[in-house]
Structure formats: structure tokens, C-alpha cells
Amino acid sequence: MNSRIKTLRIGVASCGIAAGAEAVQTRLRECAGNIPVIGVGCLGSCYAEPMVEAVLEDGSGILYGNVTPDDVPEILELGEKKRFTPPPARQAKELVKVLALAGRVDPTDFNDYTAHGGYEGLKNALKMTPEEVVNEMKLSGLRGRGGGGFPTGTKWSFLAAKKAPEKILICNADEGDPGAFMDRSLMESVPHQVLEGMLIAAHATGATKLFIYCRAEYPLAIKHLKIAIAQIYENKLNVIDGRVLEIIIKEGAGAFVCGEETALIASLEGKRGTPRFRPPFPTDSGYKGAPTMINNVETYGNVPLILREGGAEFAKIGTEGSKGTKLFALAGDLKYPGLVEVPMGITLGEIVFDMGGADRDSVKAVQTGGPSGGCIPVELFDTPVDYDSLRSLGAIMGSGGMIVIGKYRCMVETARYFLDFTHRESCGKCTFCRVGTTRMFETLERIVAGKGVPEDLDFLEDLGKKIKAGSLCGLGQTAPNPVLATLRYFRHEYEAHVKEHRCEALQCNALVKLKLDQSKCVKCRQCIRVCPVGAVSEEFVIDSSKCTRCNSCMDCCPKHAISRVTKEN
């Protein structure tokens, strides 16, 4: 064992565990002798999980990626094999502020967090008056990271101005956008940072009760938050200005609409999570009628930094209207999926190509903002990433999910997928959203099945605009975005579907068939064996009427003799 190793860190957030980090951790503990093995949170490079970092006496670290239990002896000798270096382009563009401690500290160790500057922001805040803290927040220019982008300092000033015996603070941790995992990573990796942000907000606004509304699908985040809250109680950090604050975790029960403020409050009250008219805004009348303020996990995660370094310093990063850094969950068709933190104003191309390592020739678009956002085509990838630029393109910043879509994905099918999601998640209160999204979904289903007609496109556009106008909350107001944005940038794909019944990307099963190229075939019979429906004959001809287009034969063919082709009518 190499004597220079002081500690060993292993990433055991959800992504790491899914990749097998627990077995590696067990083996490390068995083999490492006296060297402490610390389970830490997310290291950001999900594609290289499980990851181990050997921290040396001088404080520097050596990273290892894609580690299996068998690699452990080698790592303990600081071997070269499996050493991990992040792609240089990613390192150059990344600006790690909010995630600085993720993967560095033990999420369950209070002292580890304070040893790295934790709770200094709270200490500074408590030396200031509430008004001064609110002003510092305004000075920082921080805007809500949940998607809406409302100025955080202004929101705080609304609650601070209220005179009421009880004031409620809520952390929205109901990260429901499929494809987004920034909030999960933050809560799992540095739960104290989120809670510190909430405690600072409690001081600034005079809040008396703190709620965290978290998805039940995030058991590890909930566990780490619970441990952190117990530690806060123990150290009496929840005593702010003489008030003893209660911090309560409430588990959501799976409803996308509960990301909407008023729906979230209804759900907290134990009711069906349907939104209601605003005004009154939650800061006037929220949880059980008390003034209530809701901020997102990542927003709270930024607060300790602002109070540590000052609002003016924070505002140096970013663009005119969007300050600081933003976390993005990169996934889809790219080489290095994972969590990245970048300064506002970076271009989409820099994120997708330089940091994500996506292939320039094979990317078609990127989807931001999940089901409420839109697809941005590759031609517009020099757009800076900030709230206002993205909105002008018909997309939104959203909470930070970024899905890279390759050339061989069909945009109509992608839009259908999002409408499938939103029409099921519509709470049903507004007719336009409830019925309208269902009609849009049915129309898209028909188009991908090859039964679309040219009039469908105008119908989709018209109905989409009406749903946006006729819905009460953010879900309905944004649900048509994926369709409207793809119609705007990829109309030719829609037209190929409805006019020629052809899918350019060869993805829509109803419009393609599988073809076996006899000249490449070596008659190895693997396709015959693997076909679940017996569609490949002894003569190596695929019977399209039996074939389910499951691609099993295509994937197993050693000669790549089988391909998807357009089905003739």
C-alpha cells in the first residue's frame, strides 16, 4: 500500500451506487487498513462512475474512474491503470462554485462541512440585519434556479415585509423534470449547503417554519437531509434571532404539477396538488393561509456563497441579466454525460460539444427545460445560455436538464414523448390543458403512426397557442412548447411524416422496416436465434408483417448487414 495516501474518497451518490460503487466501497474498506474511506457525493462525471479519489498528504488527489472491486489493490498502490482525467475542454470551461464541496466532503459529517467553510455564510448573515441580507441578495442578481428566473432578493423582500405570527419557507425539491438531476446531486452531496441557504433566508425574512418538499423517489437525498437536520438541531443552528425554527421534510408522492408553487402548497397541506389562481400570491397567503415563500434547491445552494463572498463579488460572474453559475444535467447522445457547472452566458455549443464531448456531425438539437422547454437546433448553438436568450428561442432555461438529441432521433417522436408526459401529468383543473394536451398527444400519435394529414400541423399550432393562453399554471402554459418549438425549427420532419409518411430519422416504427442485405450476410444465424417473434426466415429474409422493429437482430449482426429503411407504401 502506498504510504502517501491520506484518505480515500468514493462517490456514493445515486449515480455511483447504480454503477456499482457500493461493492467498491466494501472492498476499499477491507483492503485500506487504517486509511479512512469516506463516502462522498457526486463528482460530476457520471459516465466514469464508480469513481475513487486517493487524497495524498499534500492535499492533492488522484482520481480513478470506472473502478471495479478488482481494481482496488492497484489503486492502493497508486497505479496508473484506471486513472481518470476529465476531458481538458471540460476542465477549461467549467466554473465550480455551487458544487465546490460536492464530492469533497462527507455529506453526513457536519464537521467536514464546517472545516471547508460551511456555515460561514450564515455567520456573516447573522451579523447583518435582515434588510442588509436582502439587499446583499438583490446586489448579487441571483434569479430563481427552478426555471422561472424570478429575482431571488425581490422575492425575499416580499416575505420580509409581511407582519405575521407565522411565516413559512419552503424548499422546492420536487425535481420532476425528466432528465434533470441537479437538485438530487446537491442534496445528496452537500445537504448542509442547501440547509444553510434556508437558514440565511429565515434570518432575512423572519420565517418561523421551514419545509423541504422532496420527491419520494430520492431516498438518499432524504436520508442525508434528515441526518443534516439532526446535526443542525444538535448545534442549535436552527435558533435564529431567538426563534427556534422547525425544519420539516415532506415527501411528495409523484406529481409533476407539484413543482408549481400553489400546487406544491396544496400538496403540503395533504390535498390533491392542483394549482389555484394567483393573486393572492403565496407571500400573501400560502401554507394554511400564512405568508409563504418558495425557492428551489439550487437557489438555496447559491445563497451561502453570496453571503460568504458578498453579493457584488457573486455578480461579477455571468451576463447582464443572469448572474452566477448554473448547474446542468447533461444527458442523451453525447460522450460525457454528467453534471456540469458553468458561468451564465456560456454558449450551448461550448456545453454540448466541448464539455459534453458530443460529436459535432451527429447532433441535431438540444432540449432544455424538459417538457416545458423546447428543442434548439444545432444551427443556433452559439446562443449564450441565460434566461432571456433561451426564452427568445421558444425554449426556457428550466431547472437545468439538457438533453442532447442526435441526428437519428425523430423530432416528431420527441415532441410526442413530451406531450405523452404532460397530458398524463395535467392535473385536470383547466379544460384547455386537460383536453387540449390530450388532443395534441393523440394527433402526434397519429402522425408518428403514419396516419397524419397535412392539416394536422396547423391544428397543432393553433391548439398549442390556445392551451398556453387558457391554462392557469406553468404546466399548461408551457406544455405545448416542445411541439411549437419543433414545428418552428423542424417543420420539414413533420411535413415528411404527414405528406410522404416517411420518418427522416428512421425512428418511427410504423414508417420503417428492417432489411437484411444478403451481400453482407455470412449466414451465422444469430439474427434467427435472437428474433423474439420468428420474423427472420431460414433464407435470411425478414418478414415485415411479423417484425416488431425491436432491433435485436440489427444489434447482434456481426457484419452490420441489417438496417432500418423507409417502408414503401
Binding site: S14, C15, I17, A18, A19, C46, Y47, E49, G176, D177, P178, G179, A180, F181, R184, A216, E217, Y218, P219, K250, E251, G252, A253, G254, A255, F256, L268, E269, G270, K271, R272, G273, K288, A329, L330, A331, G332, D333, P337, G338, Q367, G370, P371, G401, I403, I405, R409, T414, Y417, F418, F421, C427, V530, P532, V533, T548, C550, N551, S552, D555
Partner: protein
Amino acid sequence: MDEKFNFLNKVDRDSSNLIKGLQLVQAAEGYVSDDGIRAVAEYFSMPPVEVEGVVSFYAQFKRVKPGRNKISVCDGTACHIKGSSQVLEWMRQELGIDSGETTRDGEFSLETVACLGCCSLAPVMSVNGKVYGKLDRKKMVKILKEYAD
């Protein structure tokens, strides 16, 4: 109230704990039975129909008894892009059930979920809470076999 639901006493009778109460019932029974609805309604002093309304609103609550092994196939954006509909199709072929159903022998039940939060490992599924990533047909069949034995 039926004695087997005594664990409800762990939460306050305040109706804001209704969802928590239902989560406890589901944790104990694996789903929310008619008896469960009645017990919760009685505990929080509200009509059963109101409880049913909350149960039907949230995707987490199940009204049908799940199989011994609970499979959740992720159909979040990243997984969808990476072929989760194929995973569902393979499941259909292997187990003969659709999302929301349980096999006749009660071994497996299948559901789709919006996102398991492991997008970088797409496509993913979880069996009894354990997450499996980067699925292809072979890998999926192998995993099913492990649980069937």
C-alpha cells in the same frame, strides 16, 4: 380502526399528514387497499372519497397489489432518447405484461416511472429499488432471470 393500521399513530391527526399516512399504508401493504383507505379516512376524520381523491391524484400510490418483484422502467427524457420504449417492449415479450400490470404468478409487476435520476446511465430500470443502467436486451433478460430464481 382496523388494528393492523395502528402504525398510523406515528403521525399527527392533522390532515396535512394525509399523504404521509397513505405512504405508511403503502409501505406496509405494498399498495393502498380498500381497508387502507377506510382506516386512513377514519384516522384523519374525513370522508373516504376524499382520501380516494388524493390517492388517485399521485402517481406513487397503487391501488392494485404489486408483484413480488417490482420493476420500474424509467421513461424519463434521457432514457426515452436512449430507447426505454424498446426496454418496455422487451419486457412485454419476456413477461407478457404491460406497464401497470402484474404477472399471473405474482412474481413481477411492471410500471413506468418519470425519472429515476440516473440519466447518465440511460436506459435504466429498477427492480425492488435497485437500479440497473445501460440496459440492452441481453442484460435485461439476465437481470429478470436473477430475480425469477
